[in-house]
Symmetry: D2
Subunit: 341 residues, 4 copies
């Protein structure tokens, strides 16, 4: 009982998403000028951004690309040696791993890249990342903020919501829990067939750092949305007001999820068509013995939308929340090409 | 590098505070009817309460007592065996430990009790706690809530802020970090004398689960306040409005801390005089390499209050935030007496 | 130019709505316990309520009735003599007028009652109304509040939204403006046929005290909804959360109107089925030369819902916002029967 | 009783304030870039601004001036002919009146100017003002907004708070009520000496369009502050956060007034030192028989500040709310000089 216990390598937090955009300037207008994110660095067609509460170099990379691909989802590990420890673990499973040198993303140290088995998404693991000070005119009086709050007040990246083929949800979700240590927090299951439709998982007390959802079009590896965090419900309403007035495309929202209990608004980056969720509030899970909350297709309506503009049915035609098949296909190759080294 | 690594026993979250009150009915009016907490169980003069987002049996115990003592601060460990592992660790340090049987607090399993070295506060560690369903009329449609939101919307306990003699802050804080695994997040230091005045520490991504602050009256083991969490800044303003109209004593607030970036309001439980903080918002720390933020007496004004009703000077006379010497002395004995077994 | 100018009798504000309910206790649970209104007086099956910011005796009357009728919409005139001046004006138009003695509604002085020509709604005009102090335990420290804020924080009645047969909208709206002095603030018109579909009118700087809307079912004199005012957008979200959890039926919302710019939530009183709007924010019109804002069926989508849960199409089947034909028919007789004298 | 009744000329709303500033660019950074007001027109050293919900040409004029004077407080009358009717009324009282030609302020029609008897403030009355469309890139989808919400979301001017010598408060307040038709809504009186210390007055349902307050320095004609309106309490907290981070000087706030029940924040325009209040919420008075609420020095503490950062005592030294004697003296001459014709 008091014997040694090695938890193995651990994931600490989600790191960044790297998004290809056909219209970089338009995407910058959206993320920097409207959402209020800081452009930390720009190297040719690659731009590194962060929210005002993020001290790390970036949580969002935008790069010029003919199509709106996702180049990577990165996760930050708990200790520097965990990169290598995960590397070994992956090799034991005969998963192909690409070693990325320090600086592959500006500000970031050595990383490894692999494809999430079953789900088909390119994941990168890293530990080291610089924490550059913002330019003096942007800097905040508060040392826990990297810059002054601006625009719609995006504080930080919040979570990834990705899709895979329906029959892969169960094994891919299991893999993420067993190999990367994510915990299942809430999930949707069809009781009759014991089919897992969606799972909200986290390594932090957030209800989800990553959600994995069955793709109704039976496609592998598609981004559903990436979420950025706002502080208060009222911030999200203000964002809705201003984004609407700027003709940004709304998919669904504002509304409140029963699952996670956050306020949501799904819009599209006008430069790329990637779906972006603005996300505020919600509950935190500190209980070490949390039992994942089960929803069924019959009960999940309140889970998807407790109140407000309702998330469409899973199989509806003209579903505003359909996977953005053409708009945001995944760059699901091991080799991440577009971002210049 | 890939060698085995045992993190040892771990604290998962703060559990509950046990408060003696000379006027139990008045305290219940405050916590249940105004703040909106659920009375889960009542056994004679002992009442167990929780917020609407807490599934566990209780986070607050009120018990009749001639004086407003604190009987215990409980912490929940990460795994069941961690109670015993911590027990061993404490014995190795020759710290006296009291074993508390299951049911010592209704709903709670076996626990151990000891006095925080240096600080003088009675801490209890436990793992097991029941998660009773609320009565049907209070139950929420959302399974992540134990009951419907009511009153001023207290969701859960947030943190403890306790005091000790100034010269004990450094060793007591070090002990909490080294033995219980708390991480220092923000702190106040006098650079000239290298004196640690206050430290905000957590085992969760919250900026603090426990804060330890130098007591200007040079007393050991006093409660400064216990905080309960509200969801939005707007909830805190509504709380201020309603509590003011109910003649609840305000100490300081509303205002926004620079340290932690939450909105605060400090009031007194009318039944006991214990200082209660209502607390909303703030930032979360996911960075595994967080560097604790240092404040000095010269810089800390923005840290204490970024805007709003200002926290008084540390040494001011008539300080509304003075330690509540007479109102909330600690029951700093190893044997917790008042609560009947 | 400096010659005498008599504005004639004037309406100062809307007064109260009198609603029949088949289940008075259930309606009281809704308006008093959930919404937080004060029961000022109860006489048998008639209950008088007000919001916490209303000093007058009542803005809502609930009375037991087998069906959910509306007995009257009352308007308060600017000066005591305006009751008689309006009486004369109505008689000049050969409109039948019923004189109601003082006390016909408890707390209210003499009034007159007539049917709004074209629209078919029973309107009552009065000036005198008592301003009783609340019981000591409810009384607020602020003399501009009649009681402490409670429940979901309904402050006051806001506006009436009533319907009439489509071809009557234009003449009935014109009558209200010309005879009672309401000003048109925003409106929907079909340009091709010059058909007036809806008009938002006020005597105060509110965008509307009364809205008149074409009834798609071609019926006269139906209530669409009565609105009660909350202070902040955040109050409306909290209300949505709590009403949802209490199984109150939602029609539409929360969302933000473009017309009037307020946040809205339409729910049903569980006791009567009457549609109630909770309403927060919006703009005020102080401009003496305000030009009414015109919307067309093609442009009005943003006017009905700028963001959030969208108001259904005007002619949709299963329209959650359809006139509540069976649930809330108007008691459109000159003689108001149900309320006992 | 039904005899003719001529209400005489009427004031409809406050129009604009004209502020001299020694550092026009700094003032523009504050009002345009931080507060989010639109620069409608600029002619040399004179800049015309409005909030995003104001359709009229301007509510704020900034003009270069060596000292931070107030050139005028303008009020808009109810009908075009009311300018001339007020002119006659003033001449009957032997008050000197200056006729200002159309275009004296860009966009404004003919106006008259006079000094408020007793109080010493220059008031201008006008009716005509243009309602120019904003440039396409700023224009809102909502026709009730002149531009998109930007910056901290200043919607419109709210009220003037001006001072005069203590012994002049009573006659000057009485003059404003009797000659211009303002109504007293709340007031502070010393009962022992029947001294009027302050009065909140309005022609609209707002609790005040103008407040008149005794100047503790016994000076005539000083501006205390001009207030701009935000929609929600949450907007004011966000404003506090951002203005603090931009080193804008805070006088007092955020806090909630008992008088008027609005949330307040008093800051200084960094370019001029004029005190600006950001103001959100509050109650509206529709009652035609409103009885002004009386406060005394003994009771007014809750009236000044119901909760939050407290307004200082009236006679305190180092009062952050002291009249800005040096910073904002009034240009109290009948001839308004600085603004070029």
């Amino acid at each position: 009982m008091t014997s040694n216990f090695d938890p193995g390598p651990q994931i600490a937090q989600i790191g960044a998403i790297s998004l290809g955009t056909p219209d970089l300037e338009k995407s910058l207008t959206f993320f920097r000028d409207l959402l209020g994110m800081e452009v930390v660095e720009r190297t040719g067609g690659v731009v590194y951004l962060r929210g005002y509460m993020e001290l790390v170099h970036h949580s969002l990379i935008l790069f010029e690309n003919p199509t709106p691909v996702v180049d990577s989802y990165s996760l930050r590990v708990q200790r520097r040696e965990d990169v290598e420890r995960f590397h070994s673990k992956l090799l034991q499973q005969e998963i192909e791993v690409l070693e990325l040198p320090s600086g592959r993303e500006t500000g970031r140290g050595e990383a490894i890249r692999f494809i999430w088995p079953g789900a088909g998404h390119p994941i990168e693991l890293f530990y080291d990342i610089t924490k550059p000070a913002a330019p003096a005119e942007l800097r905040s009086k508060l040392p826990s903020n990297s810059s002054k709050r601006r625009g719609l007040g995006v504080r930080r990246i919040d979570h990834f919501n990705v899709q895979c083929e329906p029959q892969q949800v169960r094994p891919a979700e299991q893999w993420l829990r067993e190999t990367l240590g994510f915990k299942r927090r809430e999930f949707i299951r069809i009781p009759e067939s014991d089919t897992l439709l969606a799972s909200w998982m986290s390594v932090t007390p957030q209800v989800h750092d990553i959600a994995l959802v069955a793709n109704p079009n039976e496609k592998p590896g598609q981004l559903h949305h990436v979420a950025f965090n706002l502080e208060n419900f009222s911030d999200l309403l203000t964002a809705a007001d201003i984004l609407k007035d700027h003709d940004v495309q709304f998919d669904v929202g504002p509304g409140k999820h029963g699952i996670g209990q956050a306020l949501y608004l799904y819009v599209r980056d006008p430069g790329s068509g990637h779906r972006i969720e603005l996300y505020a509030g919600g509950y935190l899970i500190f209980d070490p013995d949390w039992e994942a909350i089960e929803w069924t297709p019959a009960s999940v309506r309140d889970g998807l939308t407790f109140y407000g503009d309702s998330l469409a049915e899973w199989d509806a035609e003209n579903d505003p929340m359909a996977p953005t098949t053409d708009a945001a296909p995944l760059h699901s190759e091991l080799r991440s090409a577009p971002v210049p080294l």
